[in-house]
């Protein structure tokens, strides 16, 4: 598979890359040190957790669902990893596996309720948002658990390669998910279900297992995000991921995913993640005040979508 072709093709239908470049240029001129290897590394290090969550979110949005619980589930999974590694003294790989399993379980519960009990995913995952956060507090006794440097190795650049294991797996995930979405039967089924569930059913596709699967995958990816968040922090923070769902949705939508389902791009969503990461970093570097940060963040979210829609209009009318 040719990654570059995949990227280029998508870049073409995602004008959003322009927003990203504009943003980078802006920060480049506002800060002396923005154009530097260390900035690049720092931004890259911040990507994995949001990328994992956003890929899951994009898949859920494509089948016309939503997953508000990702942030809480991520926090809960990080908590499980922390407790398993510290309080129970399990080996790290086993603790991580438990974190992943926890995410999968939360996602599967969401999926079961949404797919087989026909409940709106917004409400089910809002309920899960509350519950998973509660469980994160219960698990850790509301305490940040220091795991130690062993887990941090996941988030630190691998010697020789220069990027972290977390980042590599995030990129592998993006490519795989984009591939699955555009090149496999499964991906086409997801698009079909999100675009016109009735028509999909008429073609013999039972939407329920796919909805279940997508929400379970989103949960599992939030679980992995939890592991990487713990790696990133070196500790398990039961408050990790508050509000993350909105960032993930924003990244997905900025990248061209429709909230109405049936339309979405993983590469686009990843571009959205990059925009958010660059924004956070750039703002931290130029050190503006909290209110200004808020104002700029809000404006960038809107402008990115304005540019994208303007492009879409322009393209379709010409």
């Amino acid at each position: 598979m040719n990654i570059w072709r995949l990227m280029r093709r998508n870049a073409e239908d995602n004008f959003i890359v322009a927003s990203l470049i504009l943003l980078i240029l802006f920060f480049g001129f506002s800060s002396d040190n923005f154009f530097s290897v260390i900035t690049l590394t720092t931004i890259l290090n911040q990507l994995p957790a949001l990328t994992f969550v956003t890929v899951g979110m994009t898949l859920v949005l494509i089948v016309a669902g939503i997953d508000l619980s990702v942030g809480s589930v991520m926090g809960f999974c990080a908590a499980v990893v922390g407790v398993a590694a510290v309080a129970w003294g399990l080996p790290l790989w086993m603790a991580c596996l438990m974190g992943l399993g926890t995410g999968l379980l939360c996602g599967a519960v969401n999926g079961l309720l949404v797919a087989y009990f026909s409940l709106p995913s917004f409400i089910v995952t809002l309920g899960m948002l509350e519950m998973a956060r509660g469980l994160a507090y219960v698990t850790t006794g509301s305490q940040t658990m220091y795991i130690g440097s062993q887990i941090q190795s996941l988030a630190l650049p691998l010697p020789g390669i220069g990027v972290s294991a977390a980042l590599i797996s995030a990129i592998v995930l993006v490519i795989t998910a984009q591939f699955v979405l555009t090149r496999t039967v499964l991906g086409r089924y997801l698009v079909a279900i999100g675009s016109n569930e009735h028509a999909a059913r008429m073609s013999g596709i039972d939407p329920r297992p796919y909805r279940l699967m997508v929400l379970a995958v989103s949960g599992a990816l939030a679980g992995i995000a939890g592991i990487f968040n713990a790696a990133y922090l070196g500790s398990a923070d039961p408050n990790a991921g508050i509000g993350l769902e909105l960032s993930a949705i924003a990244a997905a939508v900025i990248g061209g995913t429709s909230l109405m389902g049936g339309r979405g791009s993983i590469i686009g969503a990843f571009t959205g993640v990059l925009i958010i990461a660059v924004l956070q970093n750039g703002l931290a570097q130029i050190g503006v005040s909290e209110p200004t940060k808020r104002l700029i963040t809000g404006a960038v979210i809107i402008i990115a979508v304005v540019i994208d829609r303007w492009r879409a209009k322009h393209a379709s009318s010409s």
């Binding site: 086409r188 089924y189 698009v191 079909a192 999909a200 008429m202 013999g204």
Partner: protein
């Protein structure tokens, strides 16, 4: 009519709030084309849906090739060898045309979709059904309704089925397209496939079918050989009444004033300037082949598509208003019935009454209270007038049969009492009885001085009700016929004229060369 029974239905029952299918018995042989006819709401689509696995039957037995057949979902129908083109077109807009066609069984190589095979297979099928001018990799969003109907058909014949069910497959098609489709049906039957064919075009039914069954109020009243029956017999069995024809008077009030004045109109899809005037008290028909631009013209008159040139003026008591958008059009007494009722008309999830009462009568204001009693009375009258079959006015519109939904949308504009009605395929999916009632209604509206401009793919429908017929060919207005020189042959020739011209003139600069079958 060869071979043993492929499908046997015995004593089939289905009820929603009221019984919809009552003790239906049906037998279909291998290689048989079996037509089912009946009034709107008779239960045809319900029967289809049960066979296709979309609905569960309440009682009775179905067997397929001698085996009990109890589908739990559409997938079971598919594995049992039943293919179905449903009445309500449902293409998946964010997938390509080829993907839509092959969605059931996307070809793959090493877990990856084999795009080459996918598009090649699709193209073959598309050529067969008359969609050869469409790029299989394009999205279905831009397809016209007729193309989508053909797509539905292509989807149904995309795999080697034993029983093919076609629920009103020609409703949105023009006569040449329908003929072509019928020839494919004949080929499939000759290859031993059984076909269930549902249509309100009874001539067609007698042409293609071996046997015809009539459903009336959920009961199967008779099954006869097509050769031994006639349209009037079928109508009588469907309705329980004698032949119904249009009975209204038709004097042409020729000196009436102009109500709509179109000058030099062009749009992106109508490149050749169009000049037209419409008078009050006339019915004008728009004839043409698929893609000729009839729908485009009607929506331009209503202000739905941006004009690239010219104006549409609404003349009212000496004053002229330029129609720029749909809101203005409606406020100026213009009504529009789109060709695709699902996307352009219905408010799903809302009651039948609400669907008939938006946008409401002409005197209604946005900040006004609704007089519920008055609306209910008006709704009841409309339901009677158009014989809309429903449980009550508060029933969800989605629960009505296709033809009854169409009637509800016509009722909407009757309630509005607009002066100019732009109707795109107004009788699509409507049964013969009601069709004639609608013709009468249109003629009586004309008597009251209303102007009706209707596009239709059925030329005899146009010659029945219209005072004037305009023919479009390849997005160009080519001829106008007055009532006294109507001739189906001439109209058809005119409709083909531009297409034959462009075929003869191979060096046309227009890349979008259309074949007559499109």
């Amino acid at each position: 009519m060869t071979g043993s029974a492929r499908l046997t239905i015995s004593n089939l029952n289905k009820a929603f709030a009221a019984p919809v299918l009552i003790g239906v018995n049906l037998k279909i042989a291998r290689g048989e084309v079996h037509a089912i006819v009946g009034e709107n709401g008779a239960g045809k689509s319900t029967l289809v849906n049960i066979l296709a696995g979309n609905l569960r039957k309440d009682g009775g037995e179905i067997s397929l090739d001698g085996n009990i057949y109890e589908p739990q979902g559409p997938r079971d129908a598919y594995t049992a060898g039943i293919a179905c083109a449903a009445q309500e077109l449902s293409s998946i807009e964010t997938l390509s045309v080829a993907e839509n066609i092959a969605l059931r069984a996307l070809p793959q190589k090493n877990f990856v979709i084999d795009r080459g095979a996918l598009n090649a297979n699709a193209l073959k099928l598309m050529q067969r059904v008359g969609l050869q001018n469409i790029d299989p990799t394009s999205s279905t969003e831009a397809l016209s309704l007729a193309d989508r109907q053909l797509l539905e058909f292509a989807k149904a014949i995309s795999f080697d089925c034993q029983l093919l069910i076609l629920d009103e497959p020609t409703a949105a098609l023009t006569a040449p397209q329908a003929d072509h489709l019928h020839s494919i049906i004949a080929d499939l039957a000759a290859a031993g496939k059984s076909i269930i064919y549902i249509s309100h075009r009874l001539d067609d039914v007698l042409d293609v079918a071996d046997n015809v069954s009539v459903l009336r109020d959920g009961e199967l009243v008779v099954t006869t050989a097509a050769k031994q029956t006639s349209v009037s017999d079928l109508v009588e069995e469907m309705t329980g009444r004698n032949q119904i024809t249009s009975t209204a008077r038709r004097d042409y009030v020729s000196d009436a004033g102009v109500v709509l004045d179109v000058t030099c109109l062009t749009t992106n899809d109508l490149p050749h300037p169009i000049d037209l005037t419409f008078k009050s008290g006339e019915i004008v028909g728009l004839a043409g082949l698929a893609g000729a631009g009839r729908s485009e013209l009607l929506s331009a008159l209503f202000g739905l598509v941006p004009l690239t040139g010219g104006t549409v003026k609404r003349m009212n008591n000496g004053a002229a208003h330029v129609v720029l958008n749909a809101g203005q059009a409606v406020r100026n007494g213009i009504a529009y019935l789109g060709e695709d009722r699902q996307s352009m008309g219905l408010f799903p999830g809302q009651s039948l009454l609400t669907n008939m009462m938006v946008p409401g009568s002409a005197d209604i204001r946005t900040l006004q209270c609704i007089d519920h009693k008055r609306e209910r009375d008006a709704g009841t009258k409309l339901v009677e007038k158009l014989t809309i079959r429903c449980q009550n006015l508060t029933q969800d519109i989605r629960q009505l049969s296709g033809g009854n939904q169409q009637k509800a949308l016509i009722a909407r504009w009757l309630h509005r009492d607009s002066d100019i009605l732009l109707l795109d395929e107004p009788t699509r999916g409507v049964d013969v009885g009601t069709k004639n009632a609608i013709y009468d209604l249109l003629i009586s509206l004309r008597q009251k001085g209303k102007t009706i401009i209707m596009a239709s793919s059925e030329i005899d429908e146009l010659t029945t009700v219209c005072d004037r017929i305009l023919v479009l060919s390849d997005r160009k207005l080519v001829r106008s016929f007055e009532r006294n020189d109507f001739s189906e042959q001439d109209i058809l020739t005119a409709a083909f004229s531009e297409f034959t011209a462009s075929v003869e003139n191979q060096s046309t600069s227009d890349s979008r060369v259309a074949s007559p079958l499109r």
